[in-house]
Amino acid sequence: MSKKKEFDWFDKPANRKLLWWLLYAVCILLVAVEPLLHRHAHFEEVWWADWGFAYYAALGFASCLALILLSKLLAILLKKKVDYYDD
């Protein structure tokens, strides 16, 4: 074990806060630049399979939230103690 001070940048609350701001900024930026590009929709048939502006942002957000909530719901039924299968 080295005596020199270890690298613990990610543990500092100030840095964590910075990362949070960075995350928000990147998200906003990604949506903000979209109008500058001419993205055409994949499917014209139905609105819910790409309505245009910020579609992917919304899809990512909604589907992940849904997946997390679904897994939380299933956890009630499926989560067991680690020794469940032990004799």
């Binding site: 630049v33 590009l37 910020a54 992940c64 989560k79």
Partner: protein
């Protein structure tokens, strides 16, 4: 020609030589074999050779085309990285079983008929089991046992399908078996089911997350690549365009995510993400256009690389800390920065972040779905793509390397080859992401390749991923790890089978005990006791009321009973009485017959 040799032969021969070598020579030898295999495969001419006549069937040990070659390349490439990673390992048992396992996988990929395919299929199942058993824990031996049972079951289903198929068609050639749902027969349905068991398609996927995380550190790396991807190869070859595979693939892609979110063990998270990723490939096979099949092959290629990388980085953590639960890990970035960086590159690649290999392979499948106007499958795969980032892209590195510092200070693995192997694969992840042309050049089907790097595509992908990341960190409280396991379909044969056994035990054995008490001990015993001294009892039953009526009581009555009993028992009754009884009997018989005739 010497170079035109079936690649499996090289690995099988190497497996036999390996135990004879010692020390570093053994490890160098094992690393050279896949490198030689890679070269060998690159030199193979397209076409069929090594054909044998066997019990009336033409077997083909070597069939080379672009499809078999691309899988051959990645199998040997990954084997090289895995053996480099396992350079420290001296255990011949693991090396021999790995060589047989990889050799058999190459056997499947390069064989041209169903009989040979079945043979190698079973060799794979048996050889891979030893990679699990070698962990030498009670859990591993249980998991290994269940693993081999399920694979033997899958093998039998496959065999039944093959036998029926040969009966139906008279051909053993392994080519397109069915190209749409309507052309499926019982035989091809059985073959498809056998293959899907190896692809870990629900509901018969329980073996994968049950067994892979119990394998040894290096065993997990090797296992993660071959069984499921061999199955993907056989699906591309045998069932391109079978629509049912679209549904199976979509289910797999979501199933893996939900379970990976529930999991606490990092290697089980990675095991479930295999199911999720193979789901994309299976879906591609189901779509069945040249682009979709190329996408499935390309994704298998890239997936093997980043999945092995992820298993390596998880393996290094397990190797150094002896722990694999998220609840016990965290803060490892301080002492394992290189493992963290390599693991994160793998995590980014699996999430198909632009400029990694996932971004140049997976969109081929998405694009194929889009071109075929398969809106719902397309949407499910997009949702699954977002979910990948959630469970494998962020969850794995976050909880293992960051999150809460658990005070572990393991340091990087002292075997530098582990880091080299990870570095090599991490390089490939980025290389194929930035410059996918070499990969596109070896894809099996003819098509035009546009670039994935259009500004709109890149921005869309980043939007999808960054908002997934946002949800992850906003929901961090919900995602807090608990020291639990999540029940999966293996419950049915782990607990369910026990329940079945218990029901059978209590039910059938209970019935057995009841019958024993009622009939064997009860009724039969009574009959036996009754008939063993029936004459005495009957005589007494007839005489006792008579004596009582004639007023004989007390000692005299008892003495009379005793006398009659012993006389009958010893057959010493007075002649007169015998004659009287016989006369009565005859009289009775006559009366009985007369009565009956009336």
């Amino acid at each position: 020609m010497m170079t035109n040799m079936p690649p499996f032969l090289l690995f099988f021969i190497a497996a036999l030589i390996t135990p004879l070598l010692t020390g570093k020579a053994k490890n160098i030898f094992i690393c050279l074999i896949p490198a030689l295999g890679f070269y060998l495969i690159s030199q193979l001419d397209h076409g069929v050779s090594y054909q044998f006549h066997f019990y009336g069937y033409d077997l083909t040990l070597l069939r080379v085309d672009k499809l078999s070659k691309i899988f051959g390349y990645i199998f040997t490439l990954n084997a090289f990285a895995a053996f480099l990673y396992a350079f420290y390992l001296k255990d011949s048992r693991q090396h021999v079983s790995a060589l047989f396992y990889i050799g058999a996988a190459l056997g499947v990929v390069f064989c041209g008929d169903l009989v040979t395919l079945y043979f190698f299929w079973e060799v794979m199942a048996v050889a891979s089991t030893f990679l699990i058993l070698s962990r030498q824990t009670k859990k591993a031996s249980g998991a290994g046992f269940r693993y081999v049972l399920i694979h033997l079951l899958g093998g039998l289903i496959l065999l039944a399908g093959i036998v029926l198929y040969i009966q139906d068609t008279g051909s053993v050639t392994f080519d397109i078996l069915a190209s749409s749902n309507s052309s499926l027969t019982l035989a091809t349905i059985l073959i498809l089911s056998g293959m899907l068991i190896n692809a870990a398609a629900p509901p018969l996927h329980g073996w994968l997350p049950d067994s892979y995380p119990e394998a040894t550190v290096t065993g997990g790396v090797i296992l993660s690549a071959y069984t499921t991807k061999t199955s993907v190869y056989t699906l591309i070859r045998g069932f391109p365009g079978c629509e049912v595979l679209i549904i199976v693939g979509c289910v797999m892609s979501l199933y893996g995510i939900i379970y990976a979110l529930l999991e606490n063990d990092m290697r089980r998270i990675l095991a479930y993400s295999i199911i999720n990723q193979v789901g994309f490939m299976v879906c591609g096979v189901g779509i069945g256009t040249a682009m979709a099949l190329n996408g499935a092959a390309a994704h298998a290629f890239c997936h093997i690389i980043y999945k092995a990388l992820l298993w390596m980085s998880a393996g290094s953590v397990l190797y150094m800390t002896g722990k694999s639960k998220c609840t016990e890990l965290g803060g490892l970035y301080k002492t394992m920065p290189l493992t963290m960086i390599f693991g994160t590159i793998g995590a980014l690649a699996i999430s198909s972040v632009p400029f990694t290999s996932g971004f140049t392979s997976k969109p081929l499948i998405m694009l194929a779905a889009e071109n075929q106007h398969l809106i719902i499958p397309w949407l499910i795969l997009e949702i699954a793509s977002a979910g990948v980032f959630l469970h494998a892209g962020i969850k794995f590195p976050y909880f293992v390397f960051f999150a809460k510092d658990k005070g572990l200070r393991p340091g990087e693995p002292e075997n530098k080859t582990m880091l080299w192997a990870m570095g090599f694969l991490a390089f490939l992840c980025i290389f194929l992401g930035v410059y996918p042309q070499p990969l596109y050049a070896i894809l099996p089907f003819e098509m035009e390749f546009g670039t994935m790097y259009k500004a709109t595509k890149v921005i869309s992908q980043f939007q999808l991923l960054m908002f997934s990341a946002l949800v992850f960190f906003l929901c961090l409280k919900l995602l807090k790890r608990t020291d639990t396991i999540a029940l999966d379909t293996d419950w049915f044969y782990r607990k369910g089978a026990r329940l079945f056994y218990l029901t059978m035990d209590k039910g059938l054995n209970g019935l057995n005990r009841l019958c024993d008490a009622l009939f064997v001990q009860g009724l039969a015993g009574w009959v036996m006791r009754f008939f063993s001294n029936a004459p005495q009892r009957l005589a007494l039953a007839a005489m006792a009321p008579f004596w009582l009526l004639t007023g004989q009581t007390g000692d005299k009555f008892q003495a009379k009973k005793q006398r009659l009993y012993s006389a009958l028992e010893t057959a010493t009754t007075p002649v007169g009485i015998c004659a009287a009884v016989a006369a009565l009997m005859v009289f009775g018989l006559i009366l009985f017959t007369l009565l009956l005739r009336k």
